[in-house]
Symmetry: C2
Subunit: 307 residues, 2 copies
DNA sequence: AATTTTGATACTTTTAAGGTATGACATTGA
DNA sequence: TCAATGTCATACCTTAAAAGTATCAAAATT
């Protein structure tokens, strides 16, 4: 069973247009006998007469007319394939799965970058997913994600490439009315927090920030009193707002918490810095990922120029 | 330039599904090396890497994923071609151009047949055209029409095949108030019309009926006084209604003319008969035409059974 | 009736696809 | 670490399919 092939469909279209085997062969750059056999081959395979043989020339049968229409559609599509594939290779087409942690999502840079990407490459369908750092890393390694915005350096992760995008200081988040929440202009010394109850968000969800806080406190000479662990950064702030304790959060969180939380800068530690990172697989990056990466890098450069 | 062919697209799909050259080759019933070359050939032609070569197996690139999607669409369409062409050859698909004269259009059989055809073969797109007999015959010969409902035997017409469908008597159409229009039950003798002014519709538009009337009158021993010629049968009846004269029209016209025209049967001539015919080309009938013809024949048989 | 036009057929040559054997490379297990 | 294994790539040969050449057959036109 040598099913229909495009070579014959192409020839058939020319033949139908010319209505004349010899002339069509000429236009196709072949001789007349092969073209005749080509038509015969099509007819034999389809089991249908495609052209009436007239004394001068040939003429489409109804079946032939239907085949002609269909052949044109198929060939147009087939001819479009090259361009489509090229665009996919350039990353202008295709799909991209991007993940982010809840804390990354709260950094204004992330939605800004995603929006800019969507606008610059509208034909790439972007899938978004929010999850904890561990899940994101796992998804990256198992090809369920192509890239992820995260906040923690996650130690050695073989097979991952991590771009450092931005850094920001961490601030103390205090409930309104807290004794440290009166003078909000000056920096608070980290050691002053030694006896305060801390709200931290689960280490499993985001080990990076958790460890950053613990390391900074240890260097300042104390081990923080962890009053409660929250499943997400937003939950942490809710607990702070409710007065259950204080926390240390990335500066970009300031816009959250409304009037119930007061933020203050911290002095006494050079480690209290929250990075924003873009993680991806090292091998076989999707072309659209290269585009995203380039876009993000350019945005980072212009962001730094402003700050 | 050996553009993309379906054989390779088929192989590519299997290869993509298996993710494994050797296994895919097995499924395709070929050896591994040809399949490898096949993939290489596609990549060379498209100028794009379609699969990453992993230590165990292969894996689609983004470009490969796009090609896979597109290939599936193209092949589905290509595989559908056979069925489509078969249906076209059986006359279940395609197009049919049908003409009719104004007088044929007024016979209830014609719209009934066209509606039945549309219902039985909804995928055949039917084009309708009303014109004079001469134009219809010309259109048939020049392939602008496939069939035409006409009323006149049009003498010898080489290349045409004509099916006689139905016959009906011709009636005298009289304006209300005419002296012959009082007794409508009895037959009027043709000779009684010898001195009446006749309205006939143009010979060029429909030579058949015109000649039928003239022949019948001559046989009855007179030559009719043609008061006026009308371009169409409906115009003829309008003129009769307005009192400009009388006419002889097919019996099925009775439903026209409303209350202004009285119809009476005629005695004294066996020639005053109007046929309904279906004309078509003798050579290369469209398959859908064969379907129409069969349908019409069946309808004629059941019609005659009733009458 | 002869000539021309045009598609069909028989046979040969060329090209492309498929098969066989083997290599290169990387992973895995002892 | 080295051999065994799995897997795609390459080289070379064989087979099959497409194209070319020469010629025929049928029908129409002069």
């Amino acid at each position: 069973m040598t099913l229909i092939d495009l070579r014959r469909l192409r020839a058939f279209i020319v033949l139908a247009e010319e209505g004349h085997v010899t002339r069509a062969a000429e236009r196709l750059g072949i001789q007349q006998p092969p073209l005749t056999r080509l038509l015969q081959g099509l007819e034999a395979e389809l089991g249908v007469l495609l052209m009436h043989r007239l004394p001068r020339g040939v003429q489409l049968t109804e079946a032939g007319k239907v085949l002609l229409e269909e052949a044109r559609i198929i060939l147009a599509r087939a001819d479009g394939v090259t361009d489509l594939v090229h665009r996919a290779a350039r990353g202008e087409l295709g799909s991209l799965a991007v993940g982010f942690t809840s804390s990354a999502a709260l950094h204004p840079f992330v939605p800004k970058a995603l929006r800019a990407f969507r606008e610059s490459l509208p034909h790439v369908s972007v899938t978004l997913e929010e999850a904890g750092t561990a899940e994101l890393v796992d998804a990256l390694m198992h090809e369920r994600l192509d890239a992820a915005f995260i906040r923690s350096p996650v130690g050695r992760t073989p097979g991952l490439r991590i771009d450092a995008l931005l850094e920001e200081p961490m601030l103390v988040a205090l409930p309104v009315g807290h004794r440290f929440a009166i003078d909000t202009r000056s920096r608070l010394l980290l050691t002053e927090l030694a006896t305060e109850p801390f709200i931290l968000y689960r280490r499993t969800a985001g080990p990076g920030l958790y460890d950053t806080i613990l390391t900074a406190c240890r260097e300042a000479g104390f081990s923080p009193v962890v009053a409660q662990e929250a499943p997400r950064l937003t939950a942490t702030l809710s607990l702070v707002a409710a007065g259950y304790g204080i926390s240390l959060v990335p500066a970009s969180m300031q816009r959250l918490g409304g009037e119930d939380i007061v933020y203050r800068a911290v002095a006494g530690s050079s480690k209290l810095i929250a990075p924003l990172l873009l993680a991806m697989r090292q091998s076989h990056p999707a072309p659209a990922l290269a585009q995203l990466r380039g876009l993000v890098q350019r945005m980072v450069v212009s962001q730094r120029a402003i700050t």
